[in-house]
Structure formats: structure tokens, C-alpha cells
Assembly symmetry: C2
Homo-oligomer: 168 residues x 2
DNA sequence: AAAAACTTTCAGAATATTTTGAAAATTCAA
DNA sequence: TTGAATTTTCAAAATATTCTGAAAGTTTTT
């Protein structure tokens, strides 16, 4: 079956790419599976579909909720918990970008601030060191602000498309 | 010694953060060491400084050169190869962003194109699938273009700072 | 051409991350 | 309550990644 094949390829590809960008394979595969599923799924269905253990499913569903990529759905008359993915890909991308900003840029800014505080620029050597720390600090604050701007409102999509066009 | 301590903390922190964003610890530590070093260093010096093997040093120096973060320097009268880091942090950030765009977004765009080609929208199910693939395609092309715009010229730094200010 | 100085490679070892699955905890219906 | 259904936890096992170090490869000097 052609569609089934394409869906499997999608799930597999999503999982492989995810490892490239620091997200674990199974989490990405569960996400892909839910993205493609028109109805919400429970843990047993996901286990059967991806052939993975209950513990693994549970843990990664939790992480996906932390990332804001899936939602828990309680179906009336059902004991089991069901999960459904955010289908608006623009929202998905925003969530991922937001989370990565938090994880990747935040700690960097903090670490540089800590280093700045510990050192006084009383020798040339120390000044040199502080120059680098300060530069990294500036660039990471800039990156953080840029991300925030891009994410703050969907209007920025438009603004940036303009910038893109003007730079062509 | 206070500065030595701060430098060690910098190297250690850089290494830890790097794992968070998909780069290996040793590569980041070598990069940090070279960033802080006013003169270029050879493999033996790096081995001694970070207490790691020759093979490890060699491999990661190679990767750092691939990333465009360090340069090889041949000193007159010296047999050994010396390495020096790019000190302009804005350039460093651009290089990292460029490389990550290439590694993270490129393959995603390709994968979605492949999936699109394999499926005809002749059933509702297939249309639904193609909708998702197309949306991901669009968002990733957008992300790619945005990155490219940001990197293309340093003027974009200014433009984005304006955007940032206007959004405050 | 041989030897010395240095760099690269890569199989196996060490380390780190992910996964399993069964036990413990929780929730809910009766 | 009790107990069946379901979810969560976590130590041990499986897997994946990184690192080592010695052997092989290169380049330069003599």
C-alpha cells in the first residue's frame, strides 16, 4: 500500500532528522505518528504501532506535552488517556523554536553573566578574557531577542518575508 | 589563580552547553580553549591541556575546521601544525548558524520533497497526508530563507534590531 | 633512500543515552 | 473500601556515541 508506505517513511525520516537536531528518535516518531493520525491515540495503540515499550511511550508522551506539541484528550466513557498532536504546523514550528531558544540560548546567557561577575578587568589578560565573554553575551542576547521577535506575533512572518524579498 | 579558574569554567561550560545543542563535548572544549588562547596551539598542547588522546584531538580539530570555526596555521620553522580560532564572535555565530541550517533544515526540505513526489492526491486520506507534508515543506523553506536573510549581510543585524525595538 | 617528525585512521574500550518491563503508584467504578 | 484498569517509575539491559592508542600513512630532513 502506497500511502501506508509514505506514512512509514515520514515517521522514520522525522525520527532520523530529529536526532540530528538534538531530539530523541522515539519522541520524534511518536510525534510524527500523532501528526499523521486524524484521531487521537492511546498508549497501547502507539506501543503496537511503533513496537516500543510502555515505559518508553509514557516518557516520550510526557516530553512531547512539555514541548507543547501534543495534547491529552479525555474521551467520555473511556478510562484510557488519548493524545492528539497540534496540527497547525506554524504553531508546531513556533513551539519548537521557543523550546530550543529556552534550552540552548538561555543557559548560555546565564553562564556568560556568571563569568563576567567573577572577574575584574585589572590586567590586560583579564580584559582579553572579558572581551570574549562579553562578545558571546552580546551575540546570544541578540539571538534571543531575534527569536523572540520572530515568535512574538505572526505578523513577523510577513515582515520577514518582506526582508527576504528585498534582499533577493 | 582566579583567571585560570574562570577560563576552566568557560571551557567546561562551553562543553556542557554544546551537548545540549547537538555538538560533541570535546569539540566544543577544544574550540573554547582556542578561543581563549591568544596564540595558536598544536595537537600536543591541546592534548596536554584537556587531557585527551591524540586521535580525539585530531578528529575534532578536523570537525572544527569543517565548521569554519578554526584555522590551520603553519608557523615558519615549525614542523607541527598550529590551530587558531576565529575570534570575531559575530562571525563565529554566523558560521554556527550557517552550519546548523545546512544540517538541520536542508535534509528536512529534501525529505518532504521526496514524499510529495511519491503520492498523488487522489483520495481524501492522501490529500490529508499531503497537506501536512506541504505545510512542513513551507515552514522549513521559510525558516531556511529567514536564516539566509539574517546571515546574508551584517546589515540584517541592524534591521533586526529595529524590528526588535519597534516590537517592544 | 632511510630515518625522523608528525598526522591520520580505526578497531576495540569506555562512556553516555535510550529502552525495557515489571513493580509501585494512582485512578476510578462498583 | 476493594480491586481492576491504567499510568508512572526506575534499575538493569540494550544501543549509540565518543574516546583511546597503537599501527599505518605522510611529509620533511638528513
Amino acid at each position: 500500500m502506497e500511502l501506508k508506505e509514505a506514512k512509514d517513511k515520514f515517521i522514520h525520516t522525522w525520527g532520523t532528522l530529529a536526532t540530528q537536531w538534538g531530539i530523541n528518535r522515539t519522541m520524534a516518531q511518536i510525534h510524527a505518528l500523532l501528526l499523521l493520525s486524524s484521531k487521537s491515540m492511546n498508549a497501547d495503540e502507539i506501543m503496537a504501532d511503533l513496537q516500543i515499550s510502555r515505559g518508553n511511550v509514557n516518557m516520550n508522551l510526557r516530553d512531547l506535552m512539555d514541548w507543547g506539541l501534543i495534547y491529552k484528550q479525555l474521551l467520555p466513557g473511556e478510562r484510557k488517556e488519548y493524545f492528539i498532536a497540534e496540527k497547525d504546523i506554524w504553531k508546531v514550528a513556533k513551539q519548537i523554536a521557543k523550546e530550543r531558544r529556552r534550552r540552548e540560548i538561555g543557559p548560555l546567557i546565564e553562564a556568560m553573566e556568571d563569568l563576567k561577575e567573577g572577574i575584574q578587568p585589572d590586567t590586560a589578560e583579564k580584559e582579553e578574557f572579558l572581551k570574549i565573554v562579553n562578545d558571546i553575551s552580546k551575540v546570544s542576547v541578540f539571538a534571543d531577542n531575534t527569536m523572540t521577535s520572530l515568535l512574538k506575533s505572526d505578523e513577523n512572518w510577513l515582515i520577514n518575508n518582506f526582508i527576504k524579498i528585498f534582499n533577493k
